[in-house]
């Protein structure tokens, strides 16, 4: 594994671990999701650049568009949560708790 591949792989996995081991805020979990998307964007771009496969350059662009959609949906959920439960804390989302 080249150093660049190791870096982007570890960036993705660290973001995923940050999302899994979230603490208080929903927004910090969403930011970890954004870090994963960023690592994926850099990975796709580097794929196209390192292989001199210029046709693959469309993949990171479209991925960025869809990641913007996902981020806006997540933020809309955050706003809805904050206005319903009063806080953006994960402890407030306890309706399914037994």
């Amino acid at each position: 594994m080249t150093p660049t591949h190791f870096t982007i792989s570890s960036a993705f996995l660290l973001g995923m671990m940050g999302l899994a081991f979230h603490r208080t805020h929903l927004l910090s979990a969403l930011l970890c999701l954004e870090a994963m998307m960023l690592a994926l964007f850099i990975a796709l771009s580097l794929w196209s650049l390192q292989l001199d496969a210029t046709g693959c350059s469309t993949a990171p662009m479209l991925m960025l568009a869809f990641s913007a959609c996902e981020a806006s949906a997540g933020l809309a959920l955050l706003v809805a949560t904050a206005r319903t439960h009063g806080t953006g804390h994960m402890q407030a989302l306890n309706l399914l708790q037994c």
């Binding site: 870096t7 940050g18 870090a35 806006s72």
Partner: protein, 173 residues
């Protein structure tokens, strides 16, 4: 050049650790700005200047600005930065993990591996990544129309999620 790339890649990993350790969202957004900036310079070092520009404009200038405004929802009197022990424990744990995994690969890395092969190996009027993105408008036109439709759909999804008061299950007020 190899030293520059080493510094940038280390900066990227440290930035993602600063986001993944889950401090208060203000500081996590700062860490994400650092990762995006350093990632842009990594892409530029590999010759992808257009993709780096797109990342800066759309990701930092569009998405992260929206995240920064939503950080107002996470206002608390004592925001936890990376000096707080609960966050620092996560930082040290992730650092240990990355250093451990890196030490497993370290033996096989030689000097030439850090630097990409030059992208400008043949003369061309159009830069590689710009020319590739132009393909999105010609052969990839169908997917462009689909993604435009998806963006419109997302707008409607967001408006429906934040409507509240009479329709939808998420908003009680």
């Amino acid at each position: 050049m190899a030293h520059i790339m080493l510094t940038l890649l280390i900066g990227m990993v440290l930035g993602v650790i600063s986001v993944a350790s889950n401090p208060s969202p203000y500081f996590a957004a700062l860490g994400l700005v650092l990762v995006a900036g350093v990632g842009c310079v990594v892409l530029m070092g590999h010759g992808g200047s257009f993709l780096s520009l797109v990342l800066f404009l759309i990701y930092l200038g569009g998405m992260l600005v929206v995240f920064a405004y939503c950080a107002a929802l996470a206002a608390e009197p004592y925001p936890e930065a990376w000096g707080e022990w609960s966050v620092l424990g996560s930082v040290l744990g992730y650092l240990l993990l990355v250093v451990g995994a890196g030490s497993w690969f370290w033996g096989g890395w030689y000097e030439g591996m850090w630097v990409p092969v030059d992208e400008l190996i043949e003369f061309s009027v159009v830069a590689a990544d710009s020319g590739g993105v132009a393909l999105m408008y010609s052969l990839g036109g169908g997917l462009l129309v689909v993604s435009a439709w998806v963006l419109l759909l997302t707008l409607l999804v967001v408006l429906e999620l934040t409507r509240g008061l009479a329709r939808g299950a998420l908003r009680a007020v």
